[in-house]
Symmetry: C2
Subunit: 243 residues, 2 copies
Amino acid sequence: MSAGAIEASRRLRIAEIFGPTIQGEGALIGEPTVFVRAGGCDYRCVWCDSLHAVESAYRESWVPMETAEVWGEVERLSGSVPLTVSLSGGNPAIQNFGPLIAMGKAKGYRFACETQGSIAQGWFAALDLLVLSPKPPSSGERVDWEGFDACLAAAKDARAVLKIVVFDDTDYAWAQGVAARYPDLTLYLQPGNAQVDPDVAVDLQALSDRLLWLVEKVTQDRWFRPRVLPQLHVFLWGNKRGV
Amino acid sequence: MSAGAIEASRRLRIAEIFGPTIQGEGALIGEPTVFVRAGGCDYRCVWCDSLHAVESAYRESWVPMETAEVWGEVERLSGSVPLTVSLSGGNPAIQNFGPLIAMGKAKGYRFACETQGSIAQGWFAALDLLVLSPKPPSSGERVDWEGFDACLAAAKDARAVLKIVVFDDTDYAWAQGVAARYPDLTLYLQPGNAQVDPDVAVDLQALSDRLLWLVEKVTQDRWFRPRVLPQLHVFLWGNKRGV
């Protein structure tokens, strides 16, 4: 490997860094957070709401940054006041966020990471929270459960939770199966968001209706394990980026 | 005390029992829950959203029920499948829910209770979660901090959290003071809901705007401790009762 390649490998491809805002979904809903959105993904979900961090066509906009630069931006945005940093994407697990986590934890920051669970990384164990979000059938992707189990194993003592997006009855039945496979993980269900165009105003009533649909599914089935939560950020900001 | 008085004291005054639905706010947001709403309150917050469980004018509608009857209704609603039972009100702490909690825990149910923290009860220690919601200045009430500390002490090993409703800048500054007083408690902030008429449709955009206001307050102040959450049930059902 050439010196140039080694140097490049220390860089992170970052689609955006933004906040502080609140975490809009899942286990940390409502938690003040700075988001570090990694560029690049090994999946291509048909309903992806973050294509600007996934599609290679956007690759030019993924700024290669040194870990120290990324950290500097997190500190600037948070005014050096410790808070939760969420590593999202794309799939952040295709890159090495270990050094960033070490840098931030030394200053009292906490780290969460959300990934589909396709690629395991040693640095998962350094997280405060690993959100594993296996993609349901409606995504068009297929979960590799061996890879998923490797992610869980890599988390070691880090808290891991399951978050599943549900678009339809097929996804819902699939979520029940996944839940049964992992009886010890806290489970979050989230209605799918089919309105992902940042330039189209979000229909709040439609958002409310989709959440209601999912609440009625679990309560009618007396499936009391999952916590059912919306995407608050869509409620607040529609599909605008950087909030 | 006459035999009749003793018998009466074993009864609970219940405004409503409903669910399963999801918990709409605070630490258990999204959690499938059956609500047992106690009738009667030692406070009268000017913006109370549950007057039907507070005002003496509604007293006739608070059904005196034996603990076993209350428990029977929880089991019926949940199909005997264990879930979280939330004791709310009114102020549930003016009554004795200890026997109900014991009955439910024996069957694997979990119990949360939300109270303003004015009256301590030994049964707080048997809860899975005690939500202490001290009322801010806009309520027109004044917190007795000795009573509040007695509630915290009564919780013993039960998890206790703080939830504060914020209507305006005065409430917000007050919440910061309360937070400083209890540095070890997880803190939830919730924008106040001024639209409490069950017969008037809720303005979803106004709900979104009030949450946004509070999110912007904490992020601009770099106050990263509180989790900021809406009342999801208002988003879903407006101010309709029994959901």
